[in-house]
Structure formats: C-alpha cells, structure tokens
C-alpha cells in the first residue's frame, strides 16, 4: 500500500516527532539537570540548556557519593547491579533452555504436568510471592549476598515457554539426522539446538538483562549492607537520604549513569534482538 498525499506524510511525521519528543524530553531534562550546580532547581524554573558542572557532578557521584547521607560512591552500586543482572540473565537462560529441552525432547512420566506447573508460575510475578520468598531466603541465610539477590529471580516460566515454542518448530528430522550421525542428546543440544536458537537467546538476553537491572523491590528488601546496594535502589536512597533537600544534580547524574548499561546492551544487541523476535525462517 503506497499512499502519496503530502499532508498525510506531514501528519504522520508530526505524530512520530511528537512521540519521540515525549519519550526523549524527560531524559534530556535529566541530562541537563546533571550538568548544573546544586542550587539551580530550588528557584522553581528548570534550565533547559546545559550548565558547566558536568565533570564536577559526575566525578562527585562516582568517587565520593554522599557518604555523610549514607549512600556509597555509585561505582560499587553499578558493579553490584551488573553482577546481579548478569547472574539473573545467564541463570534464567540456562535453566529455561534446559527445562524446555527436557519438556520437548524427552518422554518422562508427568511431562505435561510439569509443563503446566511451570506454565502456571507465569501467573505469579515476584511481588505476589515476595513475602514467602523472603522467608525462604532469610532462613537459608542468603540475606545480604549475591546469591540472595539473584537466585530467587532466576526461575522463568516465560523463557521456558518461549524456548519450548521454538524447539517445537525445529523439524523432527533434524533430531533424527543427528541421531543417525551419532549425536547423543547432549551433543544434539549443544551442536544443533543451541546454535539454532542463538537469535532467540539474544532477544531474551536483552529482555532479561533489563529485567534484572531494573529490579527494585527485591534488592530493597533483602539488602541492608551497603556493599550489596544496587544502583536502582541507590537512586531512591539518594533522593530520601538525610533531612536536607535532595541534591537533584547528583541524583540526575546517577540516573543517567544507571540508564547507560541497559542502553548499551540494547545498542549492541539490537540487530540480533530484532532478528530473534521476527525471524521465522530456519
């Protein structure tokens, strides 16, 4: 369908530009705010042009933090977030690939029961089971640890289900050809199935990484030790820390830095990500 009406083109672009502006403007404001000195926002008017404090603000956040108010330098928090997000991502991928492999390719008793059990946990987000999960994690002594931060979030019905759907589209002859070629179940998984699902894995990697990075409630609950704070909860602590007025310029610098890693992940994996979501050809 090709329409060639000038006003329609203009209208369409107008809408698109408006949409982009609505998404981009808050980010712009955050960036601008992070380049101004401390007092600039208390006056009530928001500056819309960059100020001169860029280096100052960012080096403060990274090296000093607001130690007096109880938030450490954000370098450690960024590192914690990265570790947690990666642990959750790789954990989820490993668990869901293997469970989908088992459900699709092996005949064992109660196979469908297990599938439905996994499937049903789709309906239970972290928040619903957060109190019992906290109890379990506390009893296991995993409060204030990376294990406690990541393991409870690893089980993933969504990823298992997606991989199951993908494995079912792989022609059965592929397995049979591999069997004739002398590949056992694990070799088949490693040599055939994994390379075939690489685009799906990439797509899920992006989604899972962002999911892990953005965890807020769970880390807030189970960490009391500063050395396990993650960046997302760190932002919150910066805003509410102490009695004084929040130091918005530093908060905004932290926000920009916190948004950077997920953005980079998307940028680098964009091509595979789109392929994984759209490609059907095998």
């Amino acid at each position: 369908m090709v329409e060639n009406k000038p006003w329609a083109t203009v209208l369409a672009h107008l809408f698109l530009i408006l949409g982009v502006a609505m998404v981009a403007f808050p980010i712009y404001v955050a960036f601008i705010a992070s380049t101004h000195p401390a007092g600039s926002f208390v006056s009530g008017t928001m500056p819309l042009l960059p100020g001169g404090e860029f280096w100052n603000n960012y080096s403060t956040v990274i090296t000093e933090g607001r130690s007096r108010a109880g938030t450490p330098p954000i370098g450690l928090m960024l590192w914690n977030s990265l570790l947690m997000a990666l642990a959750i991502t790789f954990g989820k991928l490993a668990v869901s690939l293997l469970s989908a492999f088992a459900i699709v390719y092996f005949r064992f008793p109660f196979r469908m029961l297990f599938f439905w059990l996994i499937f049903m946990t789709l309906m239970l987000p972290v928040e619903v089971r957060i109190v019992p999960t906290f109890q379990v994690v506390a009893d296991l002594g995993m409060l204030n640890s990376f294990a406690g931060l990541s393991i409870p979030l690893i089980a993933s019905a969504t990823a298992t289900f997606l991989f199951r759907q993908f494995f079912m589209t792989v022609p059965e002859e592929m397995l049979e050809a591999a069997r004739v070629d002398g590949a056992g179940p694990f070799k088949f998984f490693k040599d055939i199935l994994l390379p075939l699902s690489i685009t799906n894995i990439a797509a899920l990697f992006v989604i899972m990484f962002i999911y892990g990075w953005n965890q807020y409630l769970w880390p807030l609950l189970i960490t009391t030790d500063q050395s396990y704070y993650t960046i997302v909860m760190g932002i919150q602590r910066m805003v509410t820390a102490g009695d004084s007025e929040p130091l918005w310029h530093l908060v905004m610098a932290t926000v920009i830095l916190a948004a950077l890693p997920p953005t980079l992940v998307i940028l680098f994996m964009q091509r595979l990500f789109v392929k994984g979501l759209t490609e059907t050809e095998k």
């Binding site: 022609p171 050809a177 004739v180 070629d181 002398g182 040599d191 050809e281 095998k282």
Partner: protein
C-alpha cells in the same frame, strides 16, 4: 557392505493401529531395494524401523547377521537421506558432511580427505563453505546424499529423497543415484510412492499395501506378472484396465483359456490392439470418448459399449481415431492378466 534380514517385523502404535503387519524380507549384499506403495501403506515406517528411528514392536531385524533391534541408529552402521534433507542450517556444507565423522572420532586429516572426496564425487566441492540456505534444491539434495555417503556406511536408507525436486531434476538425480549405487555397490533401501522411480531404480521391488507386502520381485516381474489386483493397478502408467468378466459379451468363446476362478481380467493399455490379431483374442466394442496426445505416444479413452466402463489405450501419435468414433479393440488372450475379485489375487499363479 551388509545383508539385511527382516523376520516378521511389525509396528503397532497405541490404540491398536497396525502400521506394519509382520514383514519378511531377505536383502542381499549390494542390492538396490525399492519400497513402493501409496501413502499410509507403512513403507516409511518400515524404513524408519530399519534405521532405528522407530522402535520395533515385534519381529527381528538383522543387519549383517547381527540382531540390531535394540541398537541406536548410529550403532547400526546405516546412513539415511530424509525427504526434506534435514541439513543442519547453521553449519556450512563442509561441517554438515563432517559432523557424523567428528562424532565418530575420526581425526581432522581423515575427515578432510573423506569430505573432499565425497564432495568431488557429488560435484558439490565448490559450495563447501556455503550454508544450506544459499543452495538450490538440487544442491541441497546432493549435500544430503553426501552426508550419507561420506561415512561409507554398510547400508543407505533413502526416504523419498527426490520428492521435493522439480520434474526435470528428479529424472537427473534418479539416474545419478542409480549410477552411484552401481559404482559403490552398497546395499540400498529406497522408499517412494512414485511407481516410475521404483521401476527404474530397483533391483528388486517391494510393493506394499496397508502394512503388508503385496509382491516382491524384479521390476519387470512385477510389471509383467502382477500378483494381485492392487499391484496391477499401482504399477504401470496409465494404469491397467480391469474388466469384470460379467461385463464382457461372448466371453464363453475364450474363457476356457483362463483359470476357472477368474472373474476379472486386467489388460495393460499398451496390449490393446486396433487390428485383429491371429492368436485367440478378446473383442471389445467401444466408443472413443477422449483422444489425449502425450508427445511420443497418445492415449485413447474409450467407453465399453456393453456397460459404459472406461478403458484406456496407448496408441501411436499418428492414430486417426477421434472422439465419438466407434472402435473395436482386440486383446490376445495370452496378454490378459486373470484375477479373482474376492481374493484379489492372480489366478494363474505358477
């Protein structure tokens, strides 16, 4: 090289579905066997049982005198070519060929020589670095063949390997497969539903129907002396004409030439004559309903005056009979295939 013995081999699926109902077959070393039959007759299931992809419900399967019922496909020393080729899409042609060798622990140098040799033989050596996606249908077919050949197995199993190719390529690959098998002398089992492929390729033909073997024999035996009504109709194109005796007038004149329990006769379209022969013959009065030119030959479709039954006849392309003409056809009694309708079997079995 291998002999393959099937002893009462049967496959039963859940729900009492008998896909293969007890088949006995002795395959000699180096033989080219074609399993042929309509879809759903159990020929693919039988092949997959021999390959080890389908469990054997009952009976025994011996490959090279060894009972292999419980062995994995890779332990049976067979190679299989699948209908949709089942090439590994993420591997190059080279790796597709090499994968089976790698899994069997061959060293790099040996894999290299074998793959190069096979690729040269199949003329795919120019594409070794490509992925299957970048190949045409015929090239993919060759790679699939190559994957089977490279291992030098003792038997090849091919499951309708040509059915995804266009007509011209199919004929070409058919010839190549035949030549290849003659050269390598590897025992080969080939499944097809195409009777022409079956006739041209086979040393021996196994015609199957509803999980049972209807007839085993060389292509010409099966064509010249079909053992049952089913085989008679399935092998040969255009199909054999089947005429119930009751529909034929004056059959008393020549019926004494046929076995007593004959009640239906088969006549190949190319055994019908327009001129009266000297030997004892049958006469059929017909009206021509369609003239169908087919290049080197033509087909006449006629309807029998006595009961309107349709008859197909092969004639030269310069035949002058046209739609609407009244024609008398003759069949030498010696060319008639006598059958019994109730048993479905041939009545003059030696």
């Amino acid at each position: 090289m291998a002999t393959i013995q099937l002893k009462q081999l049967a496959k039963t699926y859940a729900g009492d579905v008998h896909a293969v109902k007890g088949i006995d077959l002795d395959i000699q070393d180096g033989e080219f066997i074609v399993l042929v039959g309509p879809s759903g007759c159990g020929k693919s299931t039988l092949l997959r049982m021999i390959a080890g992809l389908e469990a054997i419900s009952s009976g025994e399967l011996h490959i090279s005198q060894k009972l292999v019922n419980q062995l994995e496909p890779s332990e049976r020393d067979i190679a299989m070519v699948f209908q949709n080729y089942a090439l590994y899409p993420h591997m190059t042609v080279y790796n597709n060929l090499a994968y089976g060798l790698k899994n069997r622990g061959y060293n790099k140098a040996e894999i290299e020589t074998r793959v190069q040799q096979t690729a040269k033989m199949l003329e795919i050596d120019a594409f070794l670095a490509r992925k299957p996606k970048a190949l045409s249908g015929g090239q993919r077919q060759r790679v699939a063949m190559g994957r089977a050949l490279v291992r030098e197995p003792s038997a090849f199993l091919l499951d309708e390997p040509l059915s995804n190719l266009d007509a011209k390529l199919r004929v070409q690959m058919r010839v190549e497969i035949k030549q290849l098998q003659k050269r390598l002398k590897t025992t080969t089992l080939y499944v097809t539903h195409d009777q022409l492929e079956a006739l041209t390729l086979a040393d021996r033909l196994v015609v199957m129907n509803q999980g049972l073997v209807e007839q085993v024999g060389s292509p010409m035996e099966v064509y010249d002396r079909p053992a049952s009504l089913f085989v008679a109709q399935f092998i040969g194109s255009p199909a054999m004409n089947l005429l119930p005796l009751a529909a034929l007038t004056e059959h008393s004149l020549w019926q004494s030439h046929l076995p007593d329990d004959t009640d239906i006769i088969g006549v190949r379209p190319d055994e019908l004559l327009l001129e009266q022969p000297e030997q004892p013959h049958i006469r059929l009065a017909c009206r021509c309903s369609l003239f169908e030119p087919a290049g080197a030959e033509s087909h006449l479709y006629l309807s029998l005056n006595s009961n309107g039954q349709s008859i197909c006849m092969r004639v030269d392309s310069d035949c002058q009979v046209r739609e609407g003409d009244l024609v008398t056809l003759y069949v030498p009694v010696s060319e008639v295939h006598p059958f019994n309708q109730a048993t479905g079997r041939r009545t003059d079995q030696a």
